[in-house]
């Protein structure tokens, strides 16, 4: 009997290693990493398409005159990654109440970020920006801006919901620290994407 059989507790044909997770990463965690890789490719494709349009369009608008709002949003999202880490750290240490508290603080950070983001959208819409028209230049700007930031906002919203559900179920005993860690991976990824959205979508379109 191979060591694999002994490890898994049941028999498989020789040479078969069914059930052994690749790279010895648990299945749920591996699934999340594969999702993150695919999602990274999605965002990369969006940003490349955006850059392609921006590079090829003469009258690309530069509508942003203040960085205050996007700076606050960035700070909140980066800080929420730290609070997520603290939550997972507490969960791994067995401190359930602290883990729950930090997870809820992280979700709150996500809610504030989303609220600021929507406020910014409404401001731009008030100035006359839609998906296909704006007062400053090519209509492509609205389409690319709303698509990229909208996709990110969708991820933040999904992340907040996931944090609430997993946090509450963790507190209720249905989920464990590993589940919280996997949700944390997703939240860090959402944070990571923002690190690329800010410079390319906001800062390069800053009107001086």
């Amino acid at each position: 009997m191979s060591q694999a059989d002994l490890t898994m507790g049941h028999h498989h044909p020789p040479g078969m290693t069914v059930g052994l997770p690749p790279f010895v990463v648990p299945a749920k965690k591996m699934a999340m990493w594969l999702f993150i890789i695919a999602d990274a490719a999605t965002f990369a494709a969006c940003l490349v398409a955006y850059g392609f349009l921006r590079n090829g369009t003469a009258n690309w608008p530069r509508p942003f005159h203040s960085i205050t709002n996007v700076a606050i949003m960035t700070f909140i999202l980066l800080t929420s990654s730290l609070t997520m880490l603290l939550g997972i750290r507490a969960a791994k240490a067995g401190d359930k109440s602290a883990a729950f508290r930090w997870t809820m603080i992280t979700a709150l950070g996500g809610v504030i970020f989303a609220a600021l983001h929507i406020r910014e959208w409404l401001g731009l819409i008030d100035e006359g920006m839609t998906m296909f028209h704006n007062p400053w230049g090519t209509g492509l700007f609205g389409a690319s801006f709303f698509s990229i930031t909208g996709l990110h906002l969708l991820h933040v919203t999904g992340g907040v919901l996931a944090l609430l559900v997993v946090g509450i179920r963790y507190m209720g005993g249905r989920y464990n620290a590993d589940d919280l860690e996997i949700t944390g991976l997703y939240w860090h990824f959402v944070d990571l994407v923002w690190m690329f959205v800010v410079p390319f979508v906001y800062l390069l379109n800053l009107g001086h």
Partner: protein, 119 residues
């Protein structure tokens, strides 16, 4: 005889037992890099130079987040290589069409200012 799988020999998985100070240090580094991007936005350099600097800083930020916040550094090296090589390869493979983007300026629909917009 089937050789035993690599179950016993792997490094211990990430256990989130790093000192709190390390997390704070990484957090502060990422904040500083984010601030650097805002600083770059206000420097008087050409668009290409600004883009290159911002991309470099963003990659540094993302690297810190992936390796230490997402604990990829603490996973098996094979897994780290799988994630990084796969993602970087796919991302680089998307860059093949950049030179063609310059041709859009003279003809693609919606790239020109319309009458309704120019009011």
């Amino acid at each position: 005889m089937v050789s035993p799988p690599d179950v016993q020999k792997h490094e211990p998985p990430a256990r989130y037992t790093d000192p709190l100070g390390r997390y704070l240090l990484i957090y502060v580094c990422i904040l500083i890099l984010a601030a650097a991007q805002f600083f770059i936005a206000y420097t008087h350099i050409d668009s290409e130079g600004m883009f290159a600097r911002m991309l470099f800083v963003a990659i540094a930020e993302a690297g810190l987040a992936v390796l230490f916040f997402m604990h990829l550094w603490a996973e098996k090296r094979g897994f780290l290589m799988f994630v990084l090589v796969f993602t970087i390869f796919v991302t680089l493979a998307m860059q093949y069409g950049w030179t063609d983007s310059n041709r859009m300026e003279s003809g693609a629909p919606y790239t020109q200012k319309t009458e309704a917009v120019s009011q």
